[in-house]
Amino acid sequence: MLFELREVGLDRGGKAVLDGVTASIPAGATAIVGPSGAGKSTLLRLLNRLADPDRGTIAYRDRSLDSYEPLALRREVSLVPQLPALLPGTVASNLAYAAGLAGAPPEPERTLTLAGLDPSFAERDVTKLSVGEQQRAMLGRALAQRPRVLLLDEPTSALDTAARDAIEATLARLRRELDISLVLVSHDPEQARRLAEWVVRLEAGRVADSGPLAEVLA
């Protein structure tokens, strides 16, 4: 299994955001689905230690997540947040920054192509990009680190239908072309059907169901 969660709980403001979450996430493409406020994004942030659970354990590739050095883990298990948050500068400078952190060679052309952006975007100022383009630049920035796992938090929630379809096509292509696993948070079960093979369904901070797509979202 890629991730194994056992009785994971996390409180915020005296309230349990996650409670007794036990689930497996295999390599491949997994969707975490559920209504707004179910704890999906919180769960995603636990997977690369942007936060730690108050209770329970999480294992990544059969090793406790705690045993990984957090910064190295985040370069291997890369999270793309729901809303774009690029650093000031050009797309290329953002890609170079991310690649530099991972000790990877900066390959803006390859990375932008993978993220579904024309290489000419490299020298564009990030403030001049549409939200969809920024989201793709965020995806490219994560890919510049050559991660093994991509954590995607509602990657299309801020986009119109055309931009959403384009991002989804890009993600499907990434799965085909790279040896990379996806863990995708989505409030839309249809998106999970289009992109994932495995589903974890959360409700009010608890696992309502999890397993192969055909069983959970039949």
Partner: protein, 265 residues
Amino acid sequence: MSAPLAAATSIHLEVWQVAASLTLVVLAAAISFWRGADLERDIGVATVRSFIQLTLVGYAIKIIFETDTIWLVLGLLAVMVVFGAITARQRATKVPSSFVPLLVALALAAATTLGLVVALGIFDPTPRYLVPVGGMVIGNAMTASAVALNRLGDEMHDARPRIEATLALGATAREAANPTVRRALRSGMITLVDSTKTTGLIFFPGTMVGMLLAGASPTDAVRLQLILLYTLLGSVSISALVATTLAYRHFFTPAAQLRELEEPA
């Protein structure tokens, strides 16, 4: 450096002259009342407090000058540093546990700048120089570090998404907070830098005004004022740098996670 300050003894003010200046306090309160600024009470408190505090400090300084021991000076400066840190903390409410960074910032700013001006032979290590210069150094360092941390608190809150997105790439807390810390440092320093640029054109600094009123020569007044301005530039830079460098860490856990995040659902 004994000549310029010695000139300050040539002026003598009576209590009635201080009382007469209260006319302008009454004018300030009247303006506040007339235009509904609701500051009459604050003006009253400020007037009473300034009278009591400055009178007490005046007597304290008199005693310190008369006893002429360095230990009393250091004690007074230490008290100023502690009260400065307490006051600045009230301006930096969004920064968790800001007292220690502010205390260290003020203490280092005072020790470094005063140490340097004494070591360079600019001032003699006597109460007559160290007390007033120390007061100015600590006061300006307090303002600069309070402004810097106030800005740091706002920026760390507003820039959370970008900081966390940078952490998500495997950046260290320092790398992720760097642009924010830089802006906070700049805002702490910029006021004095700007006022130094315009000094003599738009305003006359207090020391120079005081010396001119006390009968010192303009040349001496200007020289002393320049020394103080340059000393204060050093002081605010050190205090803003140390305060922001120590305080930004309080927003992160040892595992480079942002603390007190409003968790997305």
